[in-house]
């Protein structure tokens, strides 16, 4: 009971604080806070918007899990961004070149994406273990190499043959056959509710993300590898003395993190069927924030991915209704992150003290019992 109270206190406090600060911000910018909140909530209660939110939350979540795998062992993989974009490009190109039966085609594309992401992240892992290069520095540099170097070069090389009908829609890699595209899961929604209008499609990657989340939970809490990983994150010296090979763990964690990162681009791939000239960028960095807000916890990150997606989607709404400027959503994301970090920090200290006191009291009570 006490434990539940503690784990809820921080998010509730963070949420309350966020609302207070956001209200002040809105008011300071000359908007009506109540009106803005009203627009956000009423818009989010529409099914179409909810589909948008989930579609947006899916890559956020995958990205957060990728970052969290590193965070759990104090490894800062800032390179999720480069890993997913590079994996996305390679997987799309290969998927466009081959033709296979449906399930197989999809699997091949996804596996390619994961392997590419893993290998690209692995570079940073190997650099760290063999040369002592800090992974923050190497992954940031690898981001630049992926985005401004490899992607810029390969995109031009792999531009699909446009024939006579040259339009902006023909830009990008060779389109992948339908057999290689993950179908949407609108069927899931139809179980609960009416048909979806406005041509909205709920991404099939949502299911993949759920599986990744479950896999992350099982890996961390039930497997020996997960135990080793967490132990290395909490106390690398104790882990090493306990038989955990530190270097191998670094490489393994980077590979795993990059592998999950490789899946991020699959959301857009299922949607557009190729590597577009303007892929969605920034998901890797957003994932870091989502993981931070979700405390690297599988369910916590799901919640925070949805929250970030909701704020993202709301920015468009606020813009169109004129209740507030769209940047307020980004500001809110920042505020919620900051308040959460502070609230969690305070709570963990309070909890630590409480636990120490409870332990001491329990022992004292035991002693008096024995004495009596």
């Amino acid at each position: 009971m006490r434990r539940l109270l503690f784990s809820l206190a921080a998010p509730v406090a963070a949420f309350a604080l966020t609302v207070v600060i956001s209200t002040i911000a809105l008011w300071a910018f000359g908007s009506n806070p109540l009106e803005a909140y009203g627009d956000m909530v009423s818009h989010a209660s529409k099914l179409e918007t909810q589909v948008d939110i989930l579609n947006r939350a899916t890559p956020f979540y995958l990205s957060a899990v990728a970052a969290a795998i590193g965070f759990r062992m104090n490894l800062f993989n800032i390179g999720v961004e480069g890993q997913y974009l590079f994996a996305f490009l390679i997987a799309a190109q290969i998927g466009g070149l081959i033709s296979l039966p449906q399930v197989l085609h999809i699997l091949v594309i996804m596996i390619v994406a994961m392997v590419v992401g893993a290998l690209y992240a692995g570079i940073a892992g190997v650099l760290k273990t063999t040369r002592g290069v800090n992974e923050v520095v190497s992954t940031i540099m690898l981001n630049s190499i992926a985005v401004s170097g490899l992607m810029a070069w390969l995109q031009r090389r792999w531009q699909a043959d446009q024939g006579d009908n040259f339009t902006s829609t023909t830009l990008g890699t060779n389109p992948i056959d339908d057999s290689g595209l993950l179908p949407n899961v609108n069927g899931l929604l139809e179980v609960f509710t009416r048909d979806i209008g406005l041509g909205k499609e709920l991404t099939g990657m949502l299911l993949v993300a759920v599986l990744v989340g479950i896999g992350y939970h099982v890996l961390l809490n039930r497997t020996r590898f997960g135990f080793d990983l967490r132990a290395s994150g909490i106390n690398p010296f104790a882990a090493r003395a306990g038989g955990v090979p530190p270097k191998r763990m670094v490489v393994a964690a980077m590979l795993l993190s990059g592998g999950v990162a490789g899946l991020i681009g699959m959301v857009q791939l299922a949607d557009v069927g190729k590597f577009p000239p303007d892929p969605i960028q920034g998901l890797g960095f957003a994932g870091i924030a989502v993981a931070l807000l979700g405390r690297n916890h599988p369910a916590g990150m799901a919640f925070s991915a949805v929250l970030f997606a909701f704020l993202d989607v709301s920015s468009g709404v606020l813009d169109s209704t004129g209740a507030a400027s769209r940047e307020i959503a980004t500001i809110m994301q920042g505020i919620v992150l900051l308040t959460a970090v502070v609230a969690y920090g305070v709570m963990s200290r309070v909890r630590e003290r409480d636990e120490a006191r409870a332990t001491a009291e329990a022992l004292l009570a035991e002693d008096t019992l024995v004495a009596a």
């Binding site: 809490n221 039930r222 497997t223 020996r224 590898f225 997960g226 135990f227 080793d228 967490r230 132990a231 909490i234 106390n235 010296f237 104790a238 882990a239 090493r240 003395a241 306990g242 038989g243 955990v244 090979p245 630590e352 636990e355 120490a356 409870a358 332990t359 329990a362 022992l363 035991e366």
Partner: protein, 511 residues
């Protein structure tokens, strides 16, 4: 001669231990005063109090006759006291000059740094005290001895006239020690007062004017360095009475469990930390290693557990050569490990107790297997440890940091002994825990020994070492210098070997 420092009745308590117990110390101005004592005797605490890093619980301090109370090192510096720490606090990428003025930069108009005047000042300080150093060299490129000189100049530049040197020779090679002593004599000639911590008695006898010996937090003696012998000092440090060894029947067998052959471990700068060490431990035997800390014991332990690479020599366990095995392979093969610092290498402080119990055994039953963690098995085993080893905790889900030190230690000893090791490496297994818990841990180790466990025991606690060991070897400067029988050892011998005042010939030692 006037008195530079006078401490009267200084007492400092930490939970469960009195680090300084009514210590009196008088340091005459212009002398070199050595503070000796074993690890844990309270030397560092006393120096920290004098330098304002810690406040005493009781007692008064007078510097140059005025009563002082320091809230921070800044106050101590203002009073003319400077301290050179064992671990240097220099910025490697800056030049000597930049390091020296860091935090006390002279400025010209407009806040620009006045390097010219700083350089002139420093040249003068260096010349006054006969300290030679290139001001424009980058610290990174300096030898250890030179870095130490930079630290000393830094302290002098801040206006210190009383210098505290914390084990200044610990990091130096012999030639550098000579140079340091030369510098210390120059400093003394220029009127500085030097207070330094050391436990190498030959060095103390060479340089000090006065020697103070601390033991168990108490000031045992302060004597002038005239006609004192190393043996007498060693006896003062160790104490005149040694505990009687455990009289229980010997359980030593003929079966060799661990064999270490000519093992050498080098530091990064290729100095031997463990120097050609060979030893054997039989099943049912406890081999105790005595020695002042920092003489290679930790590195030897690391080499056996596998966290430190062996540069030369071999290690075998039950006849298997394990020199190139990973830590995990060694532990799975039955090596139990009680690390010297439970917070550093022993525990996951924020994790629940049952996870801490699994640490080191997570790949073996009942805690888990090659691939999975067995939560139920791990929890049951933790309950067992809690019961058998009397770990006082409300439940096994509290985080390890919530437990007292003694209970944390019992958990560690418990997890290692219940996993049926064939070799136990126990480094300071009862450090910092109360008497009751200590006796419990000793009993458990004795019991395991009678079941055939081979134990390597490292300890600074002579009660523990003599009370538990079947054989005692002494480690000094990376070498095993003596092999002693716990029932026949005298304080003078033990102290002598530990401090290098005495050495056995190799044949006598028969290692």
């Amino acid at each position: 001669m006037s008195t530079a420092i006078e401490l009267v009745g200084i007492t400092k308590r930490f939970p469960g231990v009195v680090a300084n117990d009514a210590v009196d110390l008088r340091v005459t101005a212009g002398e070199i005063h050595a503070i000796c004592g074993e690890n844990g005797a309270g030397k560092s605490t006393l120096m920290k109090i004098l330098y304002g890093m810690q406040a005493p619980d009781e007692g008064t301090m007078r510097v140059n006759g005025t009563e002082v109370s320091f809230a921070s090192p800044t106050d101590a510096i203002d009073a003319g006291i400077g301290m050179v720490h064992q671990h240097f606090m220099l910025a490697d990428q800056l030049t000597v000059l930049e390091n020296l003025i860091l935090g006390a930069e002279p400025t010209k108009a407009g806040g620009r740094l006045d390097f010219a005047s700083a350089e002139a000042d420093l040249q003068r300080v260096a010349a006054d005290y006969g300290l030679d150093v290139d001001l424009h060299e980058v610290v990174e490129r300096l030898e250890v001895g030179e870095r130490q000189r930079v630290e000393i100049i830094k302290v002098l530049y801040r206006g210190a006239e009383i210098l505290i040197l914390d084990e200044p020779t610990a990091v130096l090679v012999p030639q550098e020690v000579e140079a340091l002593f030369e510098n210390m004599r120059e400093l003394k000639a220029s009127g500085a007062t030097i207070l330094f911590i050391d436990h190498k008695l030959d060095e103390v006898l060479e340089i000090a004017d006065t020697i103070s010996v601390l033991r168990h937090g108490k000031m045992v003696s302060t004597l002038a360095n005239e006609g004192v012998t190393a043996s007498e000092l060693a006896e003062l440090m160790v104490g005149s009475e040694l505990p009687t060894p455990d009289t229980a029947e010997s359980t030593v067998t003929n079966v060799v469990a661990l064999e270490v052959t000519n093992v050498t471990v080098l530091s990064e700068d290729r100095r031997p930390l463990v120097d050609n060490v060979s030893l054997q431990i039989h099943q049912g035997e406890i081999l105790g290693i005595a020695g002042v800390e920092g003489n290679g014991q930790s590195e030897l332990v690391d080499a056996i557990i596998g966290t430190e690479r062996v540069n030369d020599g071999s290690i075998s366990l039950h006849g298997d050569e394990i020199t190139s095995w990973s830590v995990r392979e060694r532990r799975t093969a039955g090596v139990g490990y009680v690390p010297e610092d439970r917070h550093h290498e022993g525990l996951l402080l924020t994790s629940p107790l049952w996870e801490n119990a699994a640490l080191g055994h997570q790949n073996t039953a009942p805690y888990g297997s090659k691939w999975f963690i067995n939560r139920d098995g791990a929890r049951q085993q933790t309950e067992l440890i809690r019961e058998q080893f009397d770990v006082r905790t409300p439940n096994i889900d509290v985080a390890a940091h919530a437990l007292s030190g003694g209970n944390q230690q019992k958990l560690i000893v418990g997890r290692e002994l219940t996993s049926n090791p064939s070799l136990l490496i126990a480094a300071h297994p009862t450090r910092g825990i109360d008497v009751g818990a200590q006796a419990a841990v000793w009993d458990q180790i004795r019991q395991a020994r009678s079941n055939g466990l081979a134990t390597l025991l490292i300890s600074a606690d002579l009660d523990e070492l003599i009370g538990l060991s079947d054989t005692i070897v002494v480690m000094f400067r990376g070498k095993l210098v003596a092999r002693l029988s716990p029932s026949a050892v005298t304080p003078r011998d033990l102290g002598g070997y530990m401090t290098g005042a005495q050495t056995q010939t190799l044949t006598e030692a028969a290692l």
